[in-house]
């Protein structure tokens, strides 16, 4: 009997089509999505029917953790052609830091905070900050991984911007110093956005007690920044 000869077939699979598909998918993801911003705590925002989108530029975002710790993130102009590239996020953060620290030093002459140029540069790279002024120099001189570790540890006393029920603007608390510095940073776009109520966004978890969030809203009212937006997720009237 004759042996059945099995023809050797090449196992090469043509990957060209596969590569086409992956490149298409990649392009899609690159064009449609935006990068996640690093935040100290992940919060799930409550949902509303409002369809207004949160702006990506000229925005001061106030994040409130369930423990009541407050963090601020500042985004400048996204388009470098506007205002001659003068007000991207990094220069604006530096400007705000200088303003806020000098204001703090004026109010607390005995406990001055001294920052170097390198510290200011480090600050301008941080998306969301939230440490008391006294802890700023040590925090900014840490490595980035250590910074992340410190800021996401909600049990630490030196995390979160200190906030209280202060109504006297001649003796502002640290949150009020920051918000005022952001408002008067010299960036007209940011200032007008804040006046219109688009420039300030308050973000909090849906399970956070209202009394915690109320603290921040009350402070904003004291600062006469009584127009602002609340971050929500989308839902329909059927939900």
């Amino acid at each position: 009997m004759g042996k059945v000869k099995i023809k050797r077939k090449s196992t090469l699979i043509d990957m060209t089509a596969m590569s086409d598909v992956t490149v298409l998918l990649l392009t899609f993801f690159m064009l449609t999505s935006t990068f996640l911003q690093k935040e100290p705590v992940t919060v799930i925002t409550p949902s509303s029917v409002s369809e207004m989108k949160v702006p990506t530029a000229n925005l001061a975002q106030v994040l409130i953790s369930p423990e009541g710790k407050v963090f601020i993130s500042i985004a400048g102009e996204a388009d470098p052609n506007v205002a001659d590239g003068e007000w991207g996020s990094e220069p604006i953060r530096k400007e705000i830091l200088t303003k806020a620290v000098s204001e703090y030093n004026k109010l607390h002459p005995n406990k001055k905070v001294e920052l170097t140029e390198a510290d200011a540069n480090a600050f301008s790279k941080i998306n969301m900050f939230g440490v008391p002024f006294q802890a700023l120099p040590t925090f900014l001189r840490m490595s980035q991984t250590d910074q992340d570790k410190v800021i996401s540890d909600m049990s630490r006393a030196d995390v979160g911007i200190p906030i209280d029920d202060n109504k006297d603007l001649t003796k502002p608390n640290e949150f009020q110093i920051w918000m005022r510095a952001i408002y008067s940073s010299g960036n007209d776009n940011l200032q007008s956005a804040m006046k219109k109520g688009e420039g300030i966004a308050v973000k909090a978890d849906q399970t956070t007690p209202y009394s915690t969030v109320h603290h921040v809203l009350d402070n904003l009212q004291t600062l006469k920044m009584n127009r602002f937006s609340l971050m929500t997720a989308l839902k329909t009237e059927q939900d």
């Binding site: 990957m15 993801f29 935006t34 409550p46 009212q221 609340l230 939900d239």
Partner: protein, 248 residues
Amino acid sequence: MAQIEQSDKGKKKKGAQKKMQIHVDFTPMVDMNMLLITFFMLCTTMIKSQTLQITLPTNEKVEQEQMNKAKESEAITLIVSTDRKENGDIKKDDDGRSKNIVYYFTGQPMLVDDNNDGVLEDSNLEREVFLGNEGSTQRGIRKILHDRNKQVLAKIDDLKVKWRNKEFSPNKDKNDSIYQAKAKEIRNDSTLTRPVVVIKATPEASWESLISALDEMQINQISRYQIDNINHNDSLMIEAYVRKHGNN
């Protein structure tokens, strides 16, 4: 596909090269692309947050005359609260949604305290919940607010029909902006009976419950509302309600 065939046309020339097959292996390319896709999928988000814009009054002391007192017949007070377990965790219903409650009363609070001991026996407080629409019918607190703002909503519904048919302008953006302006006019039309809503929150209320209340203002096109602090009478009324009707 990935191979290039060099076919020689015509007759074989002398010294011409042999038919060559160039095969490019795309597997590493696909590997790399897959890694990149994974990276983008994990590090980016497609969801853009929505915002709800609100305007609060300033904290400055306002003169009594300047305070525009709401007409009693138009006023409705909502007190939002959230059902919590003893350890402070939020109670969830069967669908996994948190139990947000809204107490409400219209006009002035009516306190019934027969024996004057500071503990109320009854009040005009009612309890409702936040519920989504079923089809096109409103339920829960939305129905109550809807009924109180009927005149405005009827006009806005007419407007919506026109907006959908693009009667204001064939241009989409222009159509939208005209619709928005007209809707705002209707919302602020003082000839219609419009409710004035005061929103208060108990200490247990979650952020979600307050947002839900603000959301109802949007849905029901209520332009006059404010957020206020809860006072002693409000807590007494809730206490009396719970004592009388139980916790559910």
